[in-house]
């Protein structure tokens, strides 16, 4: 039993919105994820009861309350464990995890690694706002070095980790990144995640208007984003810039930016994206590209087909009484006379 779409059920985005008004701050990037998530669900051909939205703790993790499906607001960092158990016992469900940078990368780091490596058919959306928002502004594992927060008054001394690198290193079969402001790309990425058979990981660069406002402005402002990000397209070179006049090339293992004349032949050392290559080195390299030296890639980094974990879980049933008897049971009658069962009664000779 796996997820089986039942054709077009005529469901609309509104059908997936619960009657609870979101309690996120005005202008929070979380609204964007809710908008596009509920936009994706009706396209999957599944009735509402087949969806389960599972979350941990944090602003991201309030999402289940706002989606009119089954939902579970679990404990901090551990949504992926609950989602895994649910998915393994109910492969017919579409299971989505809503998590954050603190939830998935800090307290839940272990669960994240292991869920990703097992590759169950679960979708994970990580709201990365580089801050603990619900506890009012402490540094998270993705907070930039030097950043002053309430818990780092002299600037953060911890090197941040990259969620995409973590996912790819753990063997993610689907990994993508999108900014909260890019609705079109988010719709596309969530759709691809939904269609992927296996664990799908989507990092959303998400603005916290209260405690980390503008942390991604250099990647999302219309004026600069063409120069600071590059949208990944399968089998295509990484050409970016307002005038499409720069290209990412590779020197050994080192990506670099070179000038490019639009329309000119693609240079031989150009980095050509390939989402489906089995080896994850390219996706990992892309996940390491950081501002300001390199454009930050967005879109789908990796999408490969591998054995889906829940396919291993299919109890067939059988004769339980036989299991209980085991190979060594015997029968006694009311007088205490013992006789052997089955194979044991055979003579003791080598087979």
């Amino acid at each position: 039993m796996t997820v089986v779409p039942t054709a077009n059920l005529g469901l609309k985005r509104q059908d997936f919105l619960s009657n609870i008004d979101p309690k996120w701050c005005a202008g929070c990037g979380c609204y964007s994820v809710l908008r596009w998530l509920t936009g994706t669900f009706p396209t999957m051909g599944l009735p509402r009861e087949k969806f389960a939205v599972i979350s941990g703790i944090g602003c991201s993790s309030r999402t289940p309350y706002y989606v009119d499906t089954y939902g579970f607001h679990t404990v901090h960092g551990r949504a992926m464990t609950v989602a895994t158990g649910l998915k393994l016992s109910r492969p017919d469900l579409s299971v989505w995890v809503m998590t954050g940078d603190g939830d998935a990368m800090s307290i839940g780091g272990n669960h994240f690694i292991h869920m990703i490596r097992r590759n169950p058919n679960i979708k994970v959306v990580l709201f990365n706002n580089q801050i603990y928002g619900l506890t009012k502004g402490q540094a998270s594992p993705t907070t930039a070095k030097g950043k002053k927060t309430k818990s780092t008054p002299y600037g953060s001394i911890d090197p941040p980790l990259r969620p995409l690198s973590m996912a790819i290193a753990a063997g993610a079969t689907f990994a993508a990144r999108v900014a909260d402001t890019d609705g079109q790309l988010m719709a596309d990425v969530l759709q691809q995640a939904a269609d992927h058979r296996g664990a799908a990981f989507v990092e959303v660069l998400l603005n916290c208007v209260i405690f980390n406002d503008g942390t991604f402005n250099h990647l999302t402002d219309k004026a600069v984003k063409q120069d600071t990000t590059v949208q990944l397209r399968d089998k295509e070179p990484l050409i970016f810039g307002n005038a499409k006049d720069r290209i990412v090339t590779i020197d050994g293992f080192r990506p670099q930016v070179e000038a490019y004349t639009p329309g000119a032949p693609i240079p031989a050392n150009a980095l050509i994206h390939d989402v489906a290559v089995e080896d994850s080195s390219l996706a990992f390299l892309l996940s390491n590209m950081e501002h300001p030296d390199l454009p930050v890639p967005v879109g789908v980094f990796r999408r490969v087909a591998q054995t889906v974990y829940d396919d291993h879980y299919a109890p067939k049933g059988g004769d339980l009484a036989r299991v209980f008897r085991g190979p060594e049971a015997w029968v006694e009658d009311a007088q205490g006379q013992i006789s052997l069962l089955g194979a044991q009664a055979a003579p003791a000779t080598a087979a």
Binding site: S18, I20, R48, E49, K50, A52, P64, Y65, D68, T69, Y70, G71, F72, H73, T74, V75, R78, T81, V82, A83, T84, G85, L86, L88, S89, R90, D92, L93, N110, H111, I113, H114, Y313, P315, K316, G317, G318, L320, A321, V323, F324, R325, G326, E328, A329, W330, V331, E332, D333, A334, Q335, G336, I338, L341, Q344, A346, A348, T349, A350, A351
Partner: protein
């Protein structure tokens, strides 16, 4: 059944306690297993106590590396693996030295004399060869050159000296079979099955086993053998097998799921001494879903997810893992999902003594969570009772929509005894609160009898709802921060657990109905308590006993029962956790009796304690020689 009848004299015995001890690589667990299953198949009652170090292969020849397997077998009802040893089979000086404290006066020692060389003697911590110092006076010492005899039996085959040496456990087994007139067929079959694909090893083990038998037949050991008396009261018609507590627990989960008509899910993580539960279920994946999770937390988290999806869900662990699961246990309390949490207790705190038994997690099971977090707690009382106790845990979880902690322990989990295998239709049908009707559905409405909420499994059309760890509004289950509602929900959660008492059977009392002293136990102490009370009653000492399966809630008749006695004695393998709870709850000053040595109580310890209590002897008692018991 053909037994070996070559010795001149066969002495009939009632019950025998024997321990096989050697290095942890000597195969003593295997020898014990074979001896036990053969004895069970011959109609004897059996109870076993494996006792092994936590290191897989501690330094050979040292006390720390001694691995033992004790079995009590015999005709009359065997409640425990035995207090002290009638026979010790010791493969080296360390095995002898480690087990000296457990020997009965006059016990028989069957010693592998080839290993009593100076190096081994020193490693065992002896300053001189105990075979020569006279310190074994008072025991019957039988010296057997096991290594040499095994070498002779195997001849100059293709096996290395090390491989030959590894066959000596089968020599010891063969010799023991001769000594106790055990039927050899079962073990012969087992050797073929086990080593059939390695012809040289098969041949070597068969020869070693035969050589052990022949050594006895040749009269080189003693001129008499032993046989257990024929049973006076048969066990009753049925199918029987030997079962360990951990296997019985795993089977209990399978049976409960079957009788509840639910899929079974276990989320678990390897931990001594609970791992076997997960492994037995992994072997039976046709009947269940098992996740070997990345950690203890994920074990219970995945189980909670499965419960949300409508499965009978469980997680199994021991002390340190139990500590890690606590946050998620509270989520199960708040979301009121059915869940069985199995804690095979071991000696703590921290890593403690991983392979040694204790009953010291009771308080943690009862109270070890933040907030007011009532949870059902039950305990199994013997290896085979683990099966029934697990089904009872599942029944409560499903009927009351609550997490249930099932406490077993290392002694139960690893110990084994004869179990009558029930037919599936003998077992109770387990009811659930699964719902499908959207009409008037409220996630936190209440069943009037049990106060359980409805179980709307994910995937049920029209029942889409959200749950989580935030406080719930009564009825709707919506998030609520209302002060009055929090009071109400706190009270409801507590009342629901208390309602479980309505299903608990009347507390059964055994022993002398007119006694002044009631021995009240819980969990794995049942066997020794009943044995001790039985012995004392037989000698005219007035004492009664009762045993608790349900710890939270306690049976509703317990307080009145306790008040009928002048004094209630509570033996526990902890520092008095149940005693503490009983005092707090009933204001009855029970008498504690505690032991913290990583070992179960011995019946004679409990007998001595009962006899020492002034209340016991305030009734006239026939004279008896208690001194001989200690």
């Amino acid at each position: 059944m053909t037994a070996i009848q070559t010795a001149r004299t066969v002495e009939e015995v009632d019950t025998v306690v024997i321990r096989f001890a050697g290095d942890s690589g000597d195969g003593m667990q295997l020898v014990g297993d074979q001896f036990t299953s053969t004895s069970a198949l011959m109609g004897d009652d059996v109870a076993t106590l494996p006792d092994y170090p936590s290191e897989i292969r501690a330094p050979a020849g040292t006390i720390g590396g001694v691995s033992g397997f004790q079995v009590c077998f015999g005709t009359s009802d065997v409640f425990t693996p035995g207090d002290s040893l009638d026979f010790l089979v010791a493969m080296n000086p360390a095995a002898l030295r480690a087990n000296m404290p457990y020997l009965k006066p006059g016990a028989t020692l069957i010693l592998n004399e080839d290993s009593f060389i100076s190096r081994n003697i020193e490693k065992a911590g002896y300053t001189a060869n105990p075979l020569e110092t006279g310190e074994l006076v008072g025991y019957r010492v039988l010296r057997v050159p096991m290594v040499q005899a095994t070498q002779e039996a195997l001849g100059a085959g293709g096996l290395s000296a090390k491989q030959v040496d590894r066959c000596k456990n089968f020599f010891a087994l063969g010799l023991s079979y001769w000594l106790f007139n055990r039927d050899i067929k079962q073990t012969q079959r087992w050797i073929i099955k086990k080593f059939g694909n390695k012809p040289d090893v098969l041949d070597a083990n068969q020869r070693a086993f035969e050589a052990g038998l022949q050594y006895g037949k040749d009269g080189k050991l003693v001129d008499r053998t032993y046989a257990t008396r024929a049973k006076v009261t048969p066990r009753g018609a049925g199918v029987y097998r030997q079962v360990s507590g951990n296997t019985a627990t795993a089977y209990g989960l399978l049976a409960a799921a079957k009788r509840a008509n639910l899929p079974l899910f276990l989320g678990s993580y390897p931990i001594t001494p609970a791992t076997d539960i997960m492994q037995v279920l992994q072997q039976n994946r046709d009947f269940c879903n098992v996740l070997q999770a990345e950690d203890e937390i994920a074990g219970i988290g995945s189980a909670i997810g499965a419960a949300f999806g409508g499965a009978l869900a469980a997680t199994s662990t021991s002390g340190p893992g139990f500590s890690l699961k606590i946050e998620f246990m509270n989520l199960a309390v708040m979301t009121e999902l059915p869940l069985v949490i199995i804690d095979v207790q071991r000696a703590g705190p921290s890593t403690g003594l991983p392979t040694k038994t204790e009953q010291s997690d009771l308080m943690q099971a009862m109270f070890g969570r933040h907030g007011e977090s009532p949870i059902a707690v039950i305990a199994a009382s013997s290896p085979r009772d683990c099966f029934d106790a697990t089904i009872e845990a599942a029944r409560i979880a499903l009927e009351y929509m609550t997490p249930v902690v099932l406490l077993t322990d290392g002694y139960l989990g690893n110990g084994s005894e004869v179990w009558r295998v029930p037919e599936l239709d003998e077992l109770p049908v387990l009811k659930t609160h699964l719902v499908t009707n959207p009409e008037g559905f409220k996630p936190y409405s209440r069943d009037s009898k049990t106060l359980a909420r409805p179980w709307a499994a994910v995937g049920t059309p029209g029942l889409e709802h959200r749950i989580g760890g935030l406080e719930k509004e009564d009825g709707s289950g919506a998030i609520s921060h209302s002060a009055a509602n929090h009071q109400k929900m706190t009270d409801l959660r507590a009342a629901k657990i208390q309602r479980i008492a309505q299903d608990i059977p009347k507390t059964e009392v055994i022993g002398d109905p007119d006694a002044n002293v009631l021995v009240l136990g819980w969990g794995s102490t049942r066997g020794v308590i009943e044995q001790a009370v039985g012995h004392l009653n037989a000698r005219g000492v007035p004492v009664a006993a009762a045993h608790l399966r349900h710890i939270n809630p306690l049976p509703s008749d317990l307080e009145a029962l306790m008040r009928k006695y002048k004094r209630v004695l509570v033996p526990e393998i902890n520092c008095g956790q149940l005693a503490y709870h009983l005092r707090a709850k009933y204001l009855i000053n029970v008498e504690q009796f505690n032991k913290m040595q990583g070992q179960p109580f011995r019946a004679d310890e409990i007998e001595a304690k009962i006899v020492s209590m002034p209340e016991t002897l305030s009734k006239p008692v026939a004279a008896a020689n208690y001194g001989a018991l200690s």
